[in-house]
Amino acid sequence: MGGWDRELCERLVAGDESALGELYDQFSPLVYGLAARVTRDWAAAEDITQDVFVRVWEDPQAFDPARGTWRGWLATMTHRRAVDWVRRAVVRHRRAADAAAPQPPAPDPEEVAVAGTVAKSVQAAVDDLPAAQRDAILLAYFDGKTYRQVAETLGIPEGTAKSRLWLGLRRLAVRLEAEGMMEP
């Protein structure tokens, strides 16, 4: 919601290509890293990165600076695409009866930059969640599982999975707001 987010939006709407370059330089590690983590597929991560930035350039007004930041918007767009990819990949694998196909490598931890202040705070907040809520959230967010699949994986009722996701995420929101890492 900062002035930078708003100005960047205006420049993109005006067709200023340097604004797209700036957005890419700032956030491509977030987009690419998140897509790679969820899909566990480098080529898919590149495709998703390209798709996300092309969509932003084509329709910058889909982003509403009054409702959040570019960081949040890009993470949301990226995550949805990555999860869609995972779910389509599952369907492809089942059809090919190829469930045992080897997993592409997860991102190299050396490459994963968790240096930013925001990243550190979020990581600490995640670590401090009650284990039951944390496990459910990590399965849903980073493995792209639906709450039904989370319930199945953890051997808990679907209603319990739903409420763990909600309670954990809410606790995370409260803490990040209190630390000034997230707009209330």
Binding site: W4, R11, A14, G15, D16, E17, S18, G21, E22, Y24, S28, P29, L30, V31, Y32, G33, L34, A36, R37, E46, T49, Q50, F53, V54, W57, E58, R67, G68, R71, G72, W73, A75, T76, H79, R80, D108, E111, V112, V114, G116, V118, A119, V122, Q123, I137, A140, Y141, F142, K145, T146, Y147, K162, L165, W166, L169, R170, L172, A173, L176, M182
Partner: protein, 343 residues
């Protein structure tokens, strides 16, 4: 409706994590459109979920940047950059870079033995030469007629650097930014861009303000590149649209810059071929020769390299280029190009 609300609100956590089925996602989103309470909660949970993404950031391969920008521009071309918007873009970009500097980084040496703070003070001083001409009541020139005073920019720059060395860098930054914003506002007035003004080097022929604004864009870009380099970052090329503006600025002033070199300059026409998307092909009459005749030399080089040459960030003798024809004439052209920067 009430039941729908309860069912949806229980799903909001899963929805924010993209952990609902396609049908449930559609149900939640249809409900959100008409329920401000759920929308506020969904936005909040969504921000928390997005925060998780930051923990796994990883730099993509370098080659991806070009591919992504190319794909984007193929779908929607960039607007033809006008001088004001281009200058505004570099002011924002330079400021964003400066805002994140640590005290140690502010002291890093950049060019000419200047620290980052010195460089920003210098940029302010050069900007001010233009800003003073746009003031409603032109500031009285304290040093008499500046028309032919080639040393004026350097003198102003040295004075500004001295003045700012005793100040916190943040004040140097905000003073530069405030003046740049005033320049942008002045340039945005109707018909303002056609008004003739002096460029940084007062010996050059007066130019419409739009050309002087391109010179501000050019200088702000090159200092962004300077500072990024001093921080150990990759070069910051100007982008096709802005490079094209800088190229047009430089090519337009080359004949005058050659005249200012003085001495015995070879006369004749030179064909300048700049390659790349910001490039073009020009035939320039140099020296005291009459109208453009058959070119006696052809100089070919990359358009973005030409931008760096104009900023005196490349040596005219060693910048990558090829020459056909008269080598003296070509060398004169390159030497003159390197004088069109502002420091």
């Amino acid at each position: 409706m009430n039941d729908g609300h309860t069912a949806v609100s229980e799903l909001l956590g899963a929805w924010a994590l993209d952990a609902c089925s396609a049908e449930e996602t559609a149900t939640v989103e249809a409900h959100l459109a008409g329920c401000p309470a759920c929308t506020a909660e969904a936005d909040r949970l969504g921000r928390a979920a997005a925060g998780l993404g930051v923990t796994v950031a990883a730099a993509p391969p370098r080659r991806l940047r070009g591919a992504v920008l190319e794909a984007a521009l193929a779908r929607r071309p960039a607007a033809r950059a006008d001088a004001g918007a281009g200058y505004a873009a570099w002011v924002h970009r330079f400021d964003a870079l400066l805002q994140d500097l640590t005290p140690e980084q502010w002291r890093r040496r950049v060019v000419h033995g200047w620290s980052v703070q010195d460089l920003v003070a210098h940029l302010s001083a050069t900007d001010e030469l233009l800003a003073a001409q746009l003031a409603p009541v032109p500031a009285a020139a304290p040093e008499g007629p500046a028309e032919a005073d080639a040393a004026l920019p350097a003198r102003r720059s040295a004075a500004a650097i001295d003045e700012h060395r005793g100040r916190p860098p943040e004040r140097t930054r905000t003073a530069w930014r405030a003046q740049a914003d005033r320049l942008l506002r002045d340039a945005a007035r109707p018909t303002a861009l056609d008004r003739p003004v002096r460029l940084s080097d007062p010996r050059l022929p007066r130019q419409p303000l739009r050309v002087a604004i391109v010179q501000r864009l050019f200088e702000t870009w090159i200092h962004t590149d300077d500072v990024r380099g001093a921080l150990g970052g990759p070069p910051v090329p100007p982008g096709v649209e802005h490079a094209a503006l800088i190229v047009a600025f430089g090519v337009g002033l080359l004949p005058a810059a050659v005249r200012l070199l003085g001495g015995d300059q070879p006369a004749g026409s030179v064909r300048l071929v700049l390659t790349g998307p910001a490039g073009g092909d020009w035939t320039l009459p140099l020296g005291t020769g009459g109208p453009a005749s058959t070119p006696a030399a052809t100089v070919t080089m990359d358009a973005v390299e030409f931008c760096y040459l104009l900023g005196n960030r490349r040596d005219p003798g060693s910048v990558a280029h090829t020459v056909e024809g008269d080598p003296d004439l070509a060398a004169t052209l390159l030497r003159a190009a390197a004088t069109l920067g502002c420091d």
